[in-house]
């Protein structure tokens, strides 16, 4: 399964994985733009509005019927944050042509539909439809507000906002209530027209079709995509050190019965010419795998919390620890998490722990090759990181990571900020 990368038009890149492994084929289209406070909501809203209808299928019912006819093909709008890059567009998956009854072919129909959604939106007087924009704006607002429903995700987001204040990274991928509220259909149409001209485009296909056929289908579907001065100056600003000399602490209260702890770390010099497989192995040893120090010690041995795990954003160089705890375990959990990091920094990593961490990373990456959606997501990240190797190579590199590399990375890690979401003390006995 070799990735073939071609440039179809200026700034329009296609990565093609030809394989007969799956019964599902997948296709994605991503416009890349810098994530920032002013435009994040526009970027989040645009694909949702475009997904409402195009000239040939002007409303959801017509579009959904067409997708039914295409054997339940899924074609969704998608917006993702990769470091400080906002990737917005469409993701489709559908029965691979090889498995359709009667030798039908879906690929050209799907690329055509995606092209129409992007380039021939349902407009009035050349402007995106006001009712679609307002309706989707309301739903986006609801989605932003509903982020509070998942308390750990909420805590992580509040941590990021405060820790990275002043960095684009603090901006949520959906933007904020304030910026969504100010979007009208004229403003969104202007943004849309400009983005079509300037945004680099990443296309991805995985399925049984030959790369030439895919390239031809997509070139055809995107024939009318206007290209102006493409903005290649898009990327993520990596901050290596903490904002202040000491860790900053933030606490908030909500009506919850379990406390949510979220801790953010900078990776220091480890982000200078970063060794991505080694960073992943470090994370797996610290808190990213069930054999990790956080899982084994904080959760299993000390019963300090229901869960404790770490996650790493390779694009930004930020490590995040998330944990659900009883309110009165805050000090104990915090000091134990710091103690586990110190242990790693002091070189306390057994052979068994190292091997398990390497295996966890290798296994996770090999598994990517089993899922079209995972391959799509991995490939988008690799393209943004400027890496050209696949998941199997990543796995093989992870298996060669040494203890010294892991300990050296741990030594660079410093805690920038801690956020704690606790209950409301005066209401502590409510509803029990």
């Amino acid at each position: 399964m070799e990735a073939i990368r071609t440039e179809l038009k200026p700034g329009v890149f296609l990565t093609c994985l030809q394989t007969d492994k799956f019964k599902t084929a997948c296709l994605s289209l991503n416009l890349l733009t810098q994530l920032n406070r002013d435009t994040a909501s526009l970027g989040a809203l645009l694909p949702r509005v475009l997904r409402r209808g195009c000239r040939q299928y002007p409303d959801m019912e017509a579009l959904s019927r067409e997708l039914d006819r295409l054997y339940g093909a899924r074609l969704d709008s998608v917006v993702r944050k990769r470091g400080e890059v906002q990737c917005l567009g469409f993701y489709a998956d559908f029965v691979d042509d090889a498995w359709l009854p009667g030798g039908e072919r879906l690929l050209e129909q799907i690329t055509g539909l995606m092209g129409q959604l992007l380039l021939q939106p349902f407009t009035r007087g050349g402007l995106l439809l006001q009712s679609y924009v307002e309706n989707e704006r309301g739903k986006l607002l609801d989605d932003i507000r509903s982020l509070i429903n998942d308390k750990q995700a909420y805590a992580n987001r509040r941590l990021t906002e405060q820790m990275c204040f002043g960095e684009d990274y603090a901006v949520a991928v959906l933007g904020s209530e304030e910026t969504v509220g100010s979007i009208g259909y004229q403003k969104l149409t202007r943004y849309y027209r400009e983005l079509l001209q300037t945004a680099p485009v990443e296309l991805f296909y995985c399925g049984s079709a030959a790369p030439e056929r895919v390239a031809a289908a997509l070139s055809d579907a995107l024939a009318t995509l206007p290209r102006g001065e493409v903005n290649f100056d898009i990327g993520t600003d990596i901050r290596m050190n903490t904002v202040e000399e000491t860790t900053r602490y933030f606490t908030e209260s909500l009506d919850v019965t379990q406390g949510k702890l979220s801790m953010g770390f900078r990776l220091g010099d480890a982000m200078e010419d970063p060794d991505f497989p080694a960073l992943r192995v470090f994370n797996a040893a610290f808190g990213g795998a069930v054999t990790s120090k956080l899982f084994e010690n904080v959760r299993e041995k000390l019963s300090l919390c229901y869960y404790a795990s770490s996650a790493l954003d390779l694009h930004k160089g930020v490590l995040l620890v998330a944990s659900g705890i009883e309110f009165d375990k805050y000090d104990a959990a915090l000091s134990e998490i710091f103690a586990q990091l110190r242990a790693l920094q002091d070189g306390q990593l057994t052979d068994a722990e190292l091997i398990a961490a390497r295996k966890a990373v290798a296994t996770d990456h090999r598994a990517i090759a089993d899922s079209p959606a995972a391959l799509e997501s991995f490939t988008l990240s690799q393209n943004l990181l400027g890496l050209d190797y696949g998941p199997e190579e990543f796995a093989a590199l992870a298996e060669m990571v040494t203890k010294e590399q892991v300990v050296r990375i741990a030594g660079q890690v410093t805690c920038d900020a801690v956020y704690f979401l606790k209950g409301k003390e005066d209401e502590a006995d409510d509803g029990q």
Partner: protein, 424 residues
């Protein structure tokens, strides 16, 4: 071993039942990195009262889930979760109202990991100390669930629908009920429900079916066991026990779930037919291409998270639908309106279109190996095979779908659960 090729799905299923009663199903998938194994028992949160060796026994709520947590402890002091993880496998387990499943996925050492899985699930080891510690951990889990609006919404609906059936109670039990759990209770329930006769082993991936059978034969206890009878309380009427439940929680928008009880088809092909009829029916009436869905969406009464499905557990079956939405009563009124149209006629063209969608989903589900493993196990306990779906789909008529909807969604059968924000 018996093998059968399913040309529409492009898969071969190997099946065999051991002398001890264990049913084994394997789907080999060449070229996939990960292989999956699931060892499941037909024992879930709702199986609290049962007959074993002629005697009816009552157990506290939450034992099945508690057992799931404690099964990983081994007599030598090791933890099966850690051993499997250290071996590169990703092990896990879940408990539903109807079953408890232990599974792993791995890229290498499948046979070795499978041996470990079969061994640890068959080896009970509980101490007073480990049970007491787990009461703390599960107590935390229960409290975390109580913070979740989805959880509250779901169980509030089930408590509306059912007066007695234990499916209405949380699988994990309550902080109080799990205090009654002792090592003796756990040993007893393990003995009753973890006999191979009451279990299934399902494997999907780049694996050898014969080798799977040989290993299971070698590792597991010999001889058939008793499959316990269960008591889910006396039969309940079609009408819900109560119609409405409303609660307030820390959520941003109102969320709702409505549902209705239906009579479960008997295990076997009839069940598959009902499952697929349900899929077609719900897609037809309120799927994304239905006039009902699109008009509710345009009016901002539902969100993209709106979904509908059939659920089976503990001798019960129900239809459940819902999501976010500020005015659930208007949604129910619109459902009733769509049904009155259906009373006149069904749009056969729409039906044909929807059948293509369901067929597409069935074919594509063969790519999700973990999900396939789970559906083999669940369907196996319900007496059917999910790979039979394409043929069965062709036999279902529009009239069948129409009748099912009109029967299931009679207004007097529908209950509604709502969670509103604390502050409006």
């Amino acid at each position: 071993m018996v093998s059968k090729y399913y040309p529409r799905m492009g898969e071969t299923l190997y099946t065999h039942t051991l002398d001890n009663g264990l049913a084994i199903q394997v789907i080999p998938k060449k070229g996939f990195q990960k292989s999956y194994a699931m060892f499941a028992t037909n024992y879930g949160g709702a199986d609290r009262r049962f007959r074993y060796q002629g005697e009816w026994l009552n157990t506290p709520a939450g034992v099945a889930h508690f057992l799931e947590h404690k099964m990983f402890d081994m007599p030598d002091g090791s933890n099966a979760l850690s051993v499997l993880s250290a071996n590169g496998a990703s092990p896990n387990a879940f408990t539903s109202s109807a079953m408890t499943a232990y599974y792993f996925e791995c890229t290498e050492g499948f046979q070795e990991n499978l041996k470990m899985l079969l061994e640890f699930v068959s080896t009970p080891y509980f101490t007073e100390e480990s049970v007491a510690k787990e009461q703390g951990i599960i107590g935390q889990e229960i409290r975390m669930c109580e913070d979740s609006p989805d959880y509250a919404l779901y169980y509030n609906l089930l408590k509306c629908l059912y007066a007695r059936n234990p499916v209405r109670d949380s699988v994990a039990g309550t902080v109080e009920s799990i205090r009654e759990i002792t090592p003796d209770v756990l040993y007893a329930c393990h003995k009753v429900f973890y006999h191979p006769s009451n279990m299934r082993l399902c494997c999907v991936g780049d694996v050898e079916p014969e080798a799977v059978c040989a290993l299971a034969e070698q590792v597991l206890p010999k001889g058939k066991g008793e499959v316990p009878a269960r008591d889910y309380g006396s039969a309940e009427p079609g009408k819900p026990a109560s119609f409405r439940h409303k609660a307030a929680m820390e959520v941003s928008n109102t969320q709702f779930l409505f549902g209705a009880k239906l009579t479960p088809a008997k295990p076997g092909p009839d069940r598959l037919r009902q499952v697929l009829t349900g899929d077609l029916a719900l897609r037809y009436l309120m799927g994304e291409s239905s006039p009902l869905y699109t008009s509710l969406y345009a009016k901002n009464l539902i969100h993209t998270d709106f979904s509908a499905e059939l659920d089976y557990a503990a001798g019960a079956a129900m239809l459940i639908a819902g999501g976010e939405g500020r005015d659930p009563h208007s949604v129910l009124a619109a459902v009733e309106e769509a049904l009155s149209e259906l009373r006149r006629d069904i749009d056969t063209e729409a039906f044909q279109r929807i059948r293509r969608t369901t067929l597409g989903y069935c074919i594509r589900s063969m790519d999700r190996l973990g999900g396939l493993c789970t559906s083999l196990a669940e369907a196996g306990f319900a007496g059917y095979c999910p790979l039979d779906a394409p043929e069965m789909l062709e036999n279902i008529t529009p009239e069948e779908v129409r009748q099912a909807l009109l029967d299931w969604l009679q207004p007097e059968r529908i209950a509604l659960s709502v969670i509103e924000p604390l502050r409006p």
